[in-house]
Symmetry: C2
Subunit: 370 residues, 2 copies
Amino acid sequence: VGLFGDNRDVEGATVMNACYGGTAALLSSVAWAESSAWVAEKPYAIYVAGDVAVYEAGPARPTGGCGAVAVLVGRDAPVQLLPGARASYAEDAYDFYKPVMGSEYPIVDGKDSQVCYARALDACYMQYARRLDVADGVDAARGIRESSGHVLFHSPYNKLVQQSFQRLLFLDAVRALAAGVTLPADMEPLRPWAEPCAGTCDPAVWEPTYTDRGLAAATKAVDAAVGGYDRYVAAGASASQRVGNTYTGALHANLLGLIDQKAGSLRGTRATAFSYGSGLIATMFGLDFPADHSGPFTVERIAETAKLSCSLDSRVRAEPEVFSNAMRMREAAYGKASFSPAGSVADVAPGAWYLEGVDGQWRRSYARKA
Amino acid sequence: VGLFGDNRDVEGATVMNACYGGTAALLSSVAWAESSAWVAEKPYAIYVAGDVAVYEAGPARPTGGCGAVAVLVGRDAPVQLLPGARASYAEDAYDFYKPVMGSEYPIVDGKDSQVCYARALDACYMQYARRLDVADGVDAARGIRESSGHVLFHSPYNKLVQQSFQRLLFLDAVRALAAGVTLPADMEPLRPWAEPCAGTCDPAVWEPTYTDRGLAAATKAVDAAVGGYDRYVAAGASASQRVGNTYTGALHANLLGLIDQKAGSLRGTRATAFSYGSGLIATMFGLDFPADHSGPFTVERIAETAKLSCSLDSRVRAEPEVFSNAMRMREAAYGKASFSPAGSVADVAPGAWYLEGVDGQWRRSYARKA
């Protein structure tokens, strides 16, 4: 037993990079579980992926959301990282950032942010798909529909999730053409845009495709024709659709949503996950749901314990004005010392913790709802 | 080759916990190097341990410093983590923090911070020493002087480093008494304080020892008598003594200082390192300098490349008023948009980067000195 309590013998610190922080914590935790630092007596890492996902009053405000996900990481898990199936992309970008110290609201250049995101998605997927093929000993350029049962995305808003999956279909066409594989008939509509990109890494060729409305319409039509989004993406986008963007919590919430909706059929399948954090850094990685997993934390048990759909169903509807008022209270309180929250705790769930006050030295105290 | 450049396929994010961030990055990087995510074609992690170590005008200001350390982590390194020799301690504390969003200056409760630090040091060392004994198959309670050739500490100011090593001598006395080992004659003066602590984890017994002036004097005398600090600590505290506290860079700078001063004799020795970050989290870990290491980055080569003593010798002396003026300029610039630094770049070293300006959207641009 450690001096002053063995439960204080923990490592780790806050990991930050916009919506990528939780993914960095995931990858670190898995590396720890595989490393010599792992010990059988204390076999788990835990990380909490959460963020302040609010926007100032205006068109972006409704995309904000609220949610945090606690994830336990250990060996022999019901969800595992696929060995060798991982690719990242980093770039110095000002697509979304919070430079104003007195405010929680970000500065966002929406159009630039979308292009940054798309470029990162392209870079990650092209490398990821190649590595996954190598890991599986597959020669031909497999498409996302062949390599993955489900696809999870970071989800600022659902339209971007749809567009992201559609983009992967386009990249599959590029990969097939680059590999000299016959383009499947249902992908033929993408050929005019895919052919120039096949076999080149020149940004001058790729950049125009991010804003090409004709390509966007064509990939959307291909997706609709093959039923791609509904089959591969919808279940793993449901949580974010219901709670809004939770920034670094989003991908983790989406994984939980997938487990919530598909627990019974996940064993023996694989998923592809894409995480993006402005600034920017992104990683695409493969997930495996082992068919024969029997540890204490099965996917079925996670689904039963989290009861995500039930929790979301039990939410109370409020008018936008109520939310706007809450945001105004939050703005007025931000950074304050000697502060007592004015809001009612009537809506705080039983057993949940809430801020009781901030003293003159900015020290926070919390209370628990009975 | 990745799309848009293979050198963009990197992982990682900012790791923060006051002066502990760099250590968290170190432990994560080593875990990564040991994990299945490591690949031979890209065998290194790099982290930069740096921080803003400034205080408002007043008695604490002279303890601030300036420095950042870049550390390359890979397999078969010249400095390795000792397997099994690691212990951590975490606690929710307000000993040092930066709650004022418009200021870089921390709120510090000096006395409380010292007790927090001492408690963390106690908890880590008692667990660490036990684990190191187990790892080495040693029965008796070895002291720090037997288990380690050098001891590195986080170093807010040098007096705390001296007191920390003296505290380890006290803890060695506690360990010896608890294990029923005969107390060495040179440790006898510590018996009156060590006996009550031996065999108990009761904070009520331990807490008074943190502020006991008699004990502080006794450990200082024992240290002086055995020449402990000079032999085990001085070389690994030299860097911080010369540059001041660099917060999360300090422990890493001290390791570099040790290598700078002792490169020729480090092979085949071990060191014990203690990292502390307010808030609080702390880890003590063992370092090994393999005798037969022959990789590309030997300790001798690191010492030759860094030329730490030479760099520090080449600094230009300035009066306190010059520093105060620089701090006032920094205060006025903090958080500003549409800002151009007013300071001269005459003192910027050739080849170094400096801030050129901040535009109306808080986007920063940098230039490089010719």
